[in-house]
C-alpha cells in the first residue's frame, strides 16, 4: 500500500505563532511510508472535503508526524479545535515527495509563509548542507527557524515589513547566494505562486535545478477525480496534470506559470 487511512491519536498541539498551529500525530504506518514533501488529507466533522496539509517532519523511530498549519477558513479552524488525545481521520502519505540528492549536496530551501513547513523535513535530511531562506509578512507569523538551526542548517529570515531579519523578499538572498561562488545543487521551494514563479526564473538564470511544491483545491487526493489540475509542460506539450498524484512537487521548468 502506498497510503493508509485511519484515525490517529493527536499527541500534542501548540499555537506557535499568530494563527499558526503545530500538531504531532501518532501514525507509525503512515510515518514509515512518508518522505519529505508529501502531504496528509484530513477529514473533519461537518466537512464534505478533506483538507490537504503538508507533512512537516517525519519521526519514523517514534512513529510520529508533525504538521503545521495556518488558520484560513472554517476547516482549519475546526482542525485547530481538535482536542489533544482525541483522534484525527487522516489519509496519507499522499503525492510524491521531493527528489532527494545524496546527503552532503548543498541545497537551498525556500519557504514563503505557510510554505515553510515542508522545508523542515528537507533540513532534517540535508542538515548543515542546507540554507533555509524563509519569508513572512511580518515577525508575528515567523515559524520554525529553531528547527532549521537545531539541524545545523543556515537560516536567512526575511519579512515584507522589516519587523524581523532582512526587509524584503526571499528572492533577494536567493539571487545573492546563486550569484556568489558557492555552488548549489538544488533549490527547493514552497509558497505563494507569484513567489515560486520568480524563484523559478532566478534558478533558470543560474541553471540551478529547482523543485517547487504547488497547491490546488482537492477532492479525492489520490488522482481519481481530476479536480486539482495544474498546467504542466511535458514532452513538448501542455497538460493539466494533478497536484495530488503527479505532484505536489514539480520541476519548476515544467510549470506553465
Amino acid at each position: 500500500m502506498r497510503y493508509v487511512q485511519g484515525k490517529y491519536p493527536l499527541l500534542a498541539k501548540n499555537n506557535i505563532a499568530r494563527g499558526i498551529y503545530e500538531m504531532n500525530i501518532l501514525a507509525p504506518d503512515l510515518a514509515a511510508l512518508a518522505v519529505p514533501g508529501q502531504f496528509v488529507h484530513i477529514a473533519l466533522a461537518g466537512h464534505s472535503l478533506r483538507r490537504p496539509i503538508s507533512i512537516c517532519r517525519i519521526d519514523e523511530a517514534h512513529g510520529v508526524i508533525k504538521i503545521v498549519f495556518a488558520l484560513k477558513g472554517q476547516g482549519t479552524r475546526d482542525l485547530a479545535d481538535v482536542p489533544v488525545n482525541s483522534t484525527l481521520d487522516i489519509m496519507g502519505p499522499m503525492g510524491n515527495g521531493f527528489t532527494l540528492l545524496e546527503p552532503g549536496r548543498k541545497v537551498i530551501l525556500i519557504g514563503g509563509g505557510i510554505g515553510v513547513p515542508p522545508m523542515v523535513g528537507l533540513s532534517d535530511y540535508y542538515r548543515e548542507y542546507a540554507t533555509a531562506i524563509s519569508g513572512f509578512r511580518d515577525a508575528s507569523i515567523k515559524i520554525l527557524q529553531d528547527e532549521f538551526e537545531k539541524n545545523g542548517s543556515r537560516t536567512i529570515l526575511c519579512t515584507d515589513d522589516g519587523s524581523a531579519g532582512i526587509h524584503g523578499f526571499v528572492t533577494q538572498p536567493l539571487e545573492e547566494l546563486l550569484s556568489s561562488d558557492g555552488h548549489y545543487d538544488c533549490v527547493y521551494a514552497c509558497g505563494p505562486m507569484p513567489m515560486l514563479k520568480v524563484i523559478s526564473g532566478i534558478c533558470g538564470k543560474y541553471d540551478t535545478l529547482c523543485q517547487v511544491s504547488l497547491e490546488q483545491h482537492m477532492g479525492c487526493g489520490i488522482g481519481a477525480c481530476l479536480v486539482c489540475a495544474v498546467n504542466i509542460r511535458r514532452d513538448g506539450e501542455e497538460h493539466f496534470l494533478h497536484v495530488c498524484k503527479d505532484g505536489p512537487v514539480f520541476d519548476s521548468r515544467e510549470v506553465v506559470w
Binding site: 464534505s48 486539482c228 489540475a229 493539466f240
Partner: protein, 301 residues
C-alpha cells in the same frame, strides 16, 4: 444476510451499490482501498471521443453540506479507455458502466461505434454534463429522444441514459428516453450552482457556474427518483448525495433498482463498502430477506 442481488436488463449486480461517474476515475486509484469485486458496479469517468484537458483554474470547493465542482470532462479519450482501462476494469469482477459524453450527436455516435467493438456490457450515456459549454441534449425531451434513439439503433449493449436535474420535469425527460429505447435511466447528475469571490467579484470557476453534489442534493434527488420511477417502466438508478445505507435504501424504496454514490467517497474511501454493510444490516434488522422486495415499496399518501 439478506439477498442483495439485483438485475438490470439481464446484468446481475451482486449488490445495488455503484460508484458513480467522475469521482472514481477508471478505478485504479481507489483500488488501494476498495476491492472492486465487492461493488455492485463502477461507472467510469465520462469519456469523450478525443482527449480533453478540462477546465482551467480551480475545479472544486466545499459549500454547505456538499461541494461545487467544474472539471469540464478531463479524460484521455475513448481509444485510450478501450485500450488501457476497459480490459483492466472488466477483469475486476464487477459491472462496468462505461460513461460517455459528447458535445454533439456525431461525437456520441463515433464513441459508441468504437465501444460496440468491445466487451463493455453497459453504456451510461451522459446527456447531462453540467460543466461543458452549450446546453446538453438532455435538457429537452426532443433532444433526449433523438440522441437515445440514434444510439439505441447502434448498440445491443445495455443502454442507461443519465439525466440532468436542471430541467422542469425530469420524469418527462425519462419518458422520452424510455420511448426511444433506453434500458434504464440514472439520475440525477449534479445541480447547476455558483460561487462568487466577493473581493474580486469573480465567479469561483472559470466556467462561471459549476455543479453541486453531496449531502445537500439527496432530498432533491430522492424526490426526482420517486417522480421518475412512478412514471417509467424501465429500471431507475438513483444518484445524488447518498452517504449512508439508510439513504441508499430510501432511494430504492422510492423506486431505484441500483444506487450510485459519488462524492461521499472523498471523505471516506471505504464509503461504498460501508453503505453495502449498512444496507444489509438494516434489511436484517427489519426482517427483509430480499432487497428486491423494497424496490418501489414507497406508500405515497
Amino acid at each position: 444476510m439478506a439477498e442483495l442481488k439485483v438485475n438490470i436488463n439481464g446484468n446481475e449486480f451482486k449488490n445495488p451499490v455503484i460508484v458513480s461517474s467522475g469521482v472514481f476515475g477508471y478505478g485504479r486509484e481507489y483500488e488501494e482501498f476498495v476491492d472492486l469485486s465487492k461493488l455492485g458496479g463502477v461507472a467510469t469517468k465520462g469519456t469523450t471521443l478525443y482527449r480533453r484537458d478540462g477546465n482551467p483554474g480551480k475545479r472544486i470547493v466545499e459549500v454547505p453540506s456538499g461541494l461545487l465542482f467544474s472539471v469540464g470532462l478531463q479524460n484521455p479519450g475513448i481509444d485510450y479507455y478501450i485500450e488501457n482501462e476497459l480490459p483492466n476494469l472488466l477483469s475486476k469482477g464487477t459491472n462496468v458502466l462505461s460513461n460517455i459524453a459528447g458535445s454533439d450527436i456525431d461525437e456520441y455516435v463515433a464513441i459508441v461505434e468504437k465501444l460496440e467493438e468491445t466487451d463493455a456490457p453497459i453504456i451510461e450515456l451522459n446527456i447531462s454534463c453540467p460543466n461543458t459549454s452549450g446546453a446538453p441534449l438532455g435538457t429537452s425531451c426532443a433532444g433526449t429522444e433523438k440522441i437515445t434513439s440514434i444510439i439505441r439503433k447502434m448498440t445491443k449493449k445495455t443502454l442507461i441514459v443519465k439525466l440532468s436535474p436542471n430541467v422542469g420535469d425530469i420524469a418527462e425527460i425519462a419518458l422520452a428516453a424510455e420511448a426511444a429505447g433506453a434500458d434504464a435511466v440514472s439520475l440525477i447528475n449534479s445541480i447547476h450552482a455558483m460561487k462568487i469571490e466577493l473581493g474580486s467579484r469573480r465567479p469561483f470557476f472559470h466556467n462561471n457556474v459549476g455543479a453541486y453534489s453531496g449531502e445537500a442534493i439527496f432530498p432533491i434527488a430522492l424526490r426526482m427518483v420517486w417522480e421518475t420511477a412512478s412514471k417509467v417502466k424501465i429500471p431507475v438508478l438513483g444518484i445524488g448525495g447518498v452517504t449512508n445505507g439508510e439513504e441508499a435504501l430510501q432511494m430504492m424504496v422510492a423506486g431505484a433498482t441500483c444506487v450510485e454514490m459519488g462524492c461521499a467517497i472523498f471523505r471516506d474511501p471505504y464509503a461504498p463498502l460501508k453503505i453495502i454493510e449498512q444496507m444489509n444490516e438494516w434489511l436484517d434488522n427489519n426482517g427483509v430477506k430480499d432487497i428486491n422486495e423494497i424496490i418501489g415499496s414507497v406508500k405515497p399518501w
